[in-house]
């Protein structure tokens, strides 16, 4: 135990001082090779300023290469090989994928998630931001709406399992939703095993989590609007609804787009909720969970990588657009 602690400590020291030593020594080497004095001082300074950023960026670039670029390339390579990753099979995995019913189901569900969750989260977030802005207990309401953000997807799923819980006939129902349904005089339902609509019940969980995020960003954006333009609109005879839609929303359009796309990216990666709630059964499968299934349950590296590449292909354009947008806002 003590030995372990000491070795962990040693590695920490080594890591920290290794970094410091790298920056210090590489910088020193640069200044020794092209000193900032003597006959060619100006030329040397120009050269060192050109090299120095790369020197300092190198560790980060190295890590990005090892942990991001290499996996992408390796995934592409794997997707062209069989389950063991040893036999080259060309585009067989892609051919399989195109015809696989479960993949089609996952892809369709992902598209559905892609439309519903960002739209609903942004809409609820905007509504919450607008409503909480002007009331005295708005800040308390905001904290409550924001709180699910702090819960892990798995934790949230466990909570919602109790909401959607269904017991066989004869047993007492303990689910919140079924309690409401019974209270209204209807039959209890098995919410998450009923095909097609069960996806929406899973989406509700992510909407519940992401609304807080949307609200915080949009609330800040709403507060950034100049009060004078709103007063000017009041004098111009606009009613509160017109002020909201025609003066406020257009002015925070950039923030709405950023919120929307950020949630979109989260949605494309959705995995935990489906794994915990249905594990992709009853027609609720999504791509990330499908990939996980093939990787760790089916032990098929080729097919898992192929599905992973599909997810990446879907995320990339939104990512690029989002980064460009964020850059413009800065």
């Amino acid at each position: 135990m003590l030995a372990q602690l000491i070795s962990a400590f040693d590695i920490m020291i080594l890591g920290v001082f290794g970094c410091v030593a790298y920056y210090y020594l590489s910088n020193l080497a640069l200044d020794t090779l092209w000193p900032a004095h003597g006959k060619r001082a100006a030329h040397n300074i120009n050269r060192t300023t050109a090299i120095r950023p790369w020197l300092f960026l190198f560790p980060a670039l190295l890590l990005l290469t090892v942990y991001l670029v290499y996996p992408v390339i390796f995934s592409i390579w794997l997707s062209l090989h069989d389950r063991s990753g040893e036999v080259f099979i060309g585009f067989d995995n892609y051919r399989w994928m195109a015809n696989d019913a479960k993949f089609r189901e996952s892809f369709g569900n992902n598209l559905l998630w892609l439309v519903v969750v960002p739209a609903a989260s942004t809409a609820f977030g905007l509504l919450a931001a607008a409503l909480t802005d002007r009331i005295r207990w708005g800040n308390i309401a905001k904290s409550l709406i924001f709180m699910p953000m702090a819960i892990s997807f798995i934790g949230a799923s466990v909570i919602w399992k109790f909401v959607y819980d269904f017991r066989a006939e004869g047993q007492e129902q303990i689910g919140l939703l079924n309690a409401i349904v019974i209270g209204l005089g209807f039959e209890p339902q098995s919410w998450i095993t009923t095909g097609f609509w069960n996806s929406f019940f899973l989406m509700a969980i992510l909407v519940w989590i992401q609304t807080g995020f949307a609200m915080v960003i949009l609330s800040a954006a709403l507060r950034g609007i100049s009060e004078e333009t709103i007063e000017a609109a009041v004098l111009d005879g606009a009613n509160p609804l017109q002020i909201f839609w025609r003066i406020k929303v257009p002015q925070i359009w950039g923030s709405i787009a950023v919120v929307w796309t950020t949630i979109t990216i989260t949605v494309l990666k959705v995995f935990d909720i489906v794994l915990a709630m249905t594990n992709g059964q009853w027609g609720s499968q999504v791509l990330a969970n499908l990939m996980f299934d093939w990787m760790f349950r089916g032990n098929d590296f080729g097919r898992a990588s192929t599905v992973a590449l599909v997810i990446m292909a879907m995320v990339t354009p939104i990512m690029i657009w989002n980064i460009r947008n964020a850059k413009r806002d800065l």
Binding site: E228, T229, E231, A232, V234
Partner: protein, 351 residues
């Protein structure tokens, strides 16, 4: 078009009363400027007239209507804000047209009205631009256009020129004055800049701490200030105010007794003697007071000289070509009719 009246207008925020029963009558077509230091209540008054704040007590009349409980849009007013407040996501044309949205006029009439306003403000070629493509002066023009297009009974301006650079400010000042002569609407203009007030106003309303200090034409406010605050606030550089005493012998200024003149009948006691820098001239024979020149501020045609006297620092104007040297001892005189006397305690003018 209409006249505007404030009747015992009071505004309180919680326990704090910021406007103390203000009354004022503004004639139809008059250009009235509210001026005062920041926090004097001038902007609050304007916002009350606009309907952006609720009246605590008293009444606001536009035309013959009491508008206290009317929505801003029902008051027949338009306002130009300090930071322009133009809608950044709309083109200039849409900005101007926004106020016409609820009007019942036909599309053709609205379009004609927009073109007319754009023509008056000389910005026809800007109509399709976005606000981000406009300069500060152009933005202010758009803000004025947006106010004009509805042809309101009363125009309200809330320090509209304070974000412009000095040169543009002078130019816009002139433009707004010309505009008023042309369209003839009633204008209430708020500023902290007494030069703006003097140059533009038909009548100036000087405010301080939620009270109206004086209402009058620029000439009245300048030549016969009602109290020492107005005297110091209007005119640049400020009027010199020196402690003096009025007694049976006459006016005593630091041991020197002058003839009481037109104040002979005024009650005796401690007073403030006021004299404007440009009413002072160098007079070595019968000086009002003497002192040493401590600083000079050349302004071209004239030079401001700061003179240390036994009553304190006095500012005077001297000829720009041959001002007295720094360090020189000079005598300053003034004509008796250019002197002002204020009660030392209340500040009220004794004229």
């Amino acid at each position: 078009m209409a006249n505007l009246a404030l009747r015992n207008l009071v505004k309180t925020y919680g326990q704090t009363e910021v406007l103390h029963s203000i009354s004022l009558d503004v004639e139809d077509g008059e250009f009235v400027v509210f001026v005062g230091p920041s926090g004097c209540g001038k902007s609050t008054t304007l916002r009350l007239i606009a309907g952006l704040e609720e009246v605590s007590s008293g009444a606001i009349m536009i035309g013959d209507r009491e508008v206290n409980n009317l929505e801003p849009k029902e008051r027949d007013i338009a306002m130009v804000f300090q930071n322009y407040a133009i809608y950044p996501h709309m083109t200039v044309k849409k900005n101007i047209a926004f106020g016409l949205r609820s009007s019942k006029a036909s599309k053709v009439d609205k379009e004609a009205r927009i073109q007319e306003v754009a023509g008056i403000l000389d910005m026809v070629e800007l109509l399709d631009r976005k606000p981000s493509q406009l300069s500060g002066g152009q933005r202010q023009r758009v803000a004025i256009g947006r106010a004009m297009v509805r042809d309101p009974a009363v125009f309200l301006f809330d320090e509209p020129l304070s974000n412009l650079d000095a040169q543009l400010r002078t130019q816009m000042r002139l433009e707004i004055k010309k505009l008023h002569q042309r369209v003839g609407n009633t204008i209430v203009f708020v500023t902290h800049d007494q030069v703006e007030a003097m140059t533009m106003a038909d009548r100036i309303v000087v405010m301080k701490d939620g009270h109206i200090q004086q209402v009058g034409t620029p000439e009245e406010v300048y030549h016969s200030p009602a109290n020492s605050f107005v005297a110091r606030f209007i005119g640049a550089p400020s009027m010199n105010l020196l402690p003096a005493e009025l007694s049976a012998e006459g006016l005593t200024l630091a041991g020197k007794v002058l003839d009481a003149g037109r104040w002979a009948a005024s009650p005796v006691g401690k007073v403030l003697l006021g004299v404007r820098p440009n009413d002072l001239y160098i007079d070595e024979i019968r000086p009002l007071f003497e002192g040493r020149v401590s600083l000079r501020e050349p302004l071209g045609s004239e030079t401001l000289i700061y003179v240390e006297t036994e009553h304190g620092e006095v500012i005077a104007r001297a000829d720009g070509r041959m001002p007295p040297e720094v360090g020189a001892t000079i005598g300053l005189g003034a004509r008796t009719e250019d002197l002002h006397l204020f009660d030392a305690a209340s500040g009220v003018s004794l004229s």
